[in-house]
Amino acid sequence: MYFESLAAVVQMEGHGAFVWSAYFITIGVIVFMVYAPRRREKRFLRQLEGQIRRSEGGSPPGASKEV
């Protein structure tokens, strides 16, 4: 390891703010890149499942009939 202490890692001889902000922004974008399509897929499946239930004409168990 190049650095001697955790503080040195954070500081990076004065460049820490730049390096770390670059990495954190990248992490943010990557997480979004992976998370967004997964969320889209899950939400779509849930939506479709509800649509199928509706079209089958089932009523929720134990619920009173709505008009």
């Binding site: 460049h15 670059a22 990248t26 990557i30 399509p37 997964r38 849930r46 509800g50």
Partner: protein, 248 residues
């Protein structure tokens, strides 16, 4: 060969295949990205001129490389979609654009952050940065064109034509921007050329480029899965899948 080709045209097959690929590729990618970053951030010596700020190279360059390659992946998918009218190629092409735009965005932002300690300013009209900016415009153009069409099958064809035009133009744009920069260059700053980079810095960089390729693949497959389901929502297999998931 042809059977494989036809299999790629089959949505449920591709959906299942991508699922089983992602199951191992996604964890590997995450581990590789973390390992490569730690390697680059903590276990390499600083650049003797730029100091520690050069460590941004381990995300900046891979993002830029893969963003550019992504455009070609998109164009190839577009060509396949135009020539063989393969539905899955449409979907792959569509999925490339936002990923490519995100990677280009990473390259631009990290380049800008890197520029501050190195050049003393957030933005320099340097040849590479300008080229990346144009690449971002190209990606966003594809996304905008796709969204503007109501008929998504036609949208994909239109985007395929646009991305093919882009592939012809990208080398021209890059060369001309490069040339333009050398004409106006203030001659005070030079990038460290790829050939002079020290091996101890090069290996983590190559490793990170591979990791970013894996990331691109993962994001591509994830986007394709979401798109496949929406396109195929009336088919029995998607409805069965929805029933399965909803039950859990």
């Amino acid at each position: 060969m042809w059977t494989l080709f036809h299999k790629f045209g089959s949505p449920p097959w591709l959906y299942r295949l991508s699922g089983s690929i992602l199951r191992w590729l996604l964890p590997i990618t995450v581990v590789a990205l973390v390992a490569g970053s730690v390697w680059g951030l903590l276990f390499t010596a600083p650049d003797f001129r730029q100091g520690n700020s050069y460590r941004i190279i381990y995300i900046h360059v891979p993002a830029a490389v893969v963003a550019l390659a992504g455009y070609y992946v998109m164009a190839i998918a577009g060509a396949v979609s135009l020539i063989w009218r393969m539905k899955m190629a449409d979907i792959a092409m569509r999925a490339c654009a936002p990923i490519g735009a995100a990677l280009t965005f990473i390259a631009l932002v990290t380049g800008s952050i890197w520029g501050k300690p190195t050049w003393g300013t957030w933005w320099v009209w340097d040849a590479r940065i300008t080229s990346m900016l144009i690449l971002l415009f190209l990606y966003l153009g594809v996304v905008a064109l796709y969204e503007a069409y109501e008929n998504k099958a036609l949208a994909a064809k239109a985007c395929a034509v646009l991305s093919l035009v882009g592939t012809v133009n990208i080398p021209i744009i890059y060369k001309s921007v490069d040339w333009w920069y050398s004409l106006h260059q203030p001659a005070s700053i030079k990038f460290t050329g790829g050939s002079t980079i020290d091996p101890s810095m090069l290996y983590p960089l190559l490793f990170m480029i591979l990791a970013f390729y894996a990331l691109f693949t993962c994001a591509l497959l994830l986007n394709m899965r979401a798109e496949i389901l929406q396109r195929e929502q009336r088919t029995a297999w998607v409805r069965a899948l929805a029933g399965e998931r909803g039950g859990n």
